[in-house]
C-alpha cells in the first residue's frame, strides 16, 4: 500500500468532520473559559457565551449571548415565572428556499423537516417572521408590519396568579433595520457584550505594538 493513498484516505476521513451542516458531530469541549459554555450542534463543538439572564420581558436569553423573542401559544410554553400574553409584534416577510428544520420551540413556522442538512423547499415558502415587539414607532420600520402575536412575558413580582404581567419591550433597531438583540445595561462584562470589548482591544493593541517594536529593533541591529 502506498502511504500517499493511506494519507489521502485519512484526509478525507478528517476533512468530513469540519462540515458546515453535519448532524453527526464530535462532542462538546470538556472545558470553556469563564462566561462561556461548551456546545455542539450542526456547526460542530465550540465554546459559546452563556445565555444572558437580563433580557427584557417578552425575550429569553439564548446561548451565544443574545436575546430571542419568547413566542408561545399557551402558558405551558413559558415556565413558572412567565405567562403567555397577546402582544403586538413586528413582522417582516421572509422567503425561504431551503429549510434546516425547526429552530423555534413553538410550532408556528410551518413544516420544517430535517434539522440536519439543508433541504430545498419547492416551491419556496414566504412567511411573516416576528423579530421585535411593537411598542414604539422606531421598533418596526417599514416594510415591516405590526401584527398580533403571543409572547411569554415576566409575571409582575408578587403576582402568583399571573394576572399581572410586565409588558413586553422592544429591543433597539440598528441603522440597517435589524435588531440589536444583545442585552443592555451590563457593560462589557455582560454575556452579550461585543467580543471586542475595551480591555481586550487595549491588550491586542499593546501586543501588536510590542511585536512591532521588537521587529523594528531587530531590523535596526547591525
Amino acid at each position: 500500500m502506498r502511504w500517499t493513498t493511506a494519507l489521502g484516505s485519512l484526509v478525507v476521513c478528517f476533512a468530513s468532520s469540519g462540515s458546515a451542516w453535519a448532524d453527526a458531530v464530535p462532542p462538546p469541549p470538556d472545558n470553556c473559559p469563564p462566561g462561556k459554555v461548551p456546545v455542539t450542534d450542526h456547526r460542530g463543538p465550540r465554546c459559546e457565551r452563556k445565555a444572558p439572564t437580563n433580557c427584557p420581558s417578552g425575550w429569553r436569553g439564548v446561548v451565544g449571548g443574545t436575546c430571542a423573542l419568547h413566542q408561545c401559544t399557551e402558558d405551558a410554553h413559558c415556565g413558572d415565572d412567565k405567562v403567555c400574553r397577546e402582544v403586538s409584534l413586528c413582522y417582516k416577510q421572509e422567503t425561504r428556499y431551503y429549510t434546516h428544520g425547526r429552530n423555534d420551540h413553538a410550532p408556528v413556522r410551518g413544516p420544517e423537516l430535517g434539522m440536519g442538512p439543508p433541504m430545498q423547499l419547492d416551491p419556496p415558502v414566504t412567511e411573516w417572521v416576528a423579530f421585535n415587539v411593537c411598542d414604539t414607532g422606531s421598533a418596526c420600520p417599514a416594510p415591516a408590519e405590526c401584527r398580533p402575536g403571543k409572547l411569554c412575558v415576566a409575571k409582575e413580582s408578587g403576582s402568583s396568579s399571573g394576572s399581572a404581567a410586565v409588558p413586553a419591550r422592544s429591543m433597539p433597531t440598528k441603522a440597517d433595520g435589524t435588531v440589536d438583540t444583545r442585552p443592555s445595561g451590563c457593560g462589557s462584562g455582560c454575556a452579550g457584550a461585543p467580543a471586542g470589548s475595551l480591555p481586550g482591544a487595549a491588550l491586542a493593541a499593546f501586543v501588536a505594538l510590542a511585536f512591532g517594536l521588537r521587529r523594528w529593533l531587530a531590523a535596526a541591529e547591525p
Binding site: 476521513c13 462538546p28 459554555v37 455542539t40 450542526h42 410551518g110 442538512p117 439543508p118
Partner: protein
Amino acid sequence: MRPAWSVLLLSGCAHAQAPRECPAGYMTDARASTELRDALRADPEGARLLEATAGRATFCFARGGPGVLTEGALLLDDAPADPRVVARAAHLLHHLARGERVTSGDPHSADERAASELEARLFARACQRSASPPAYCNQVPPP
C-alpha cells in the same frame, strides 16, 4: 490500495459508538425517552432502528435542541411527541446504526439522502398516527 487497508481506514471513521452521558444543558428525561421510544416503536422502520442501535443510543433533551448525534447521544428538542422530533430521531439513529460518527453535511451524498428520505417517511407516518395532527402536518406532501 488493498481492500484490507481500505476497510481498516474506513472503520477508523465509523467505529462502534458507546452510549454517552448527556452533555451539560441537556436532560436525560426518562419519561420523554420512553415517549420517544414508544413513538419510534409504533413505526416499522423506527422499530427496526431501535433494535439495531439497542444499548448504544442515549436520548438527551433541551428546549431547541439541535437534532444532532454525538457519540451515541441524540441531542433533541424537548418535544418527544412532536412528529418532527420522532422523525429526526430516526434520521440520527440511521447514522448511529451505520456507525457514522461524523457525517458529511452534504445533502446530496448518498448516506444523507437516505437518512433524509427516511426522516420524511417517518414524519408522514407519525402525522398519520397522531390523533390530533399539528397544522404543519398538512403542509408537507407525502413522500
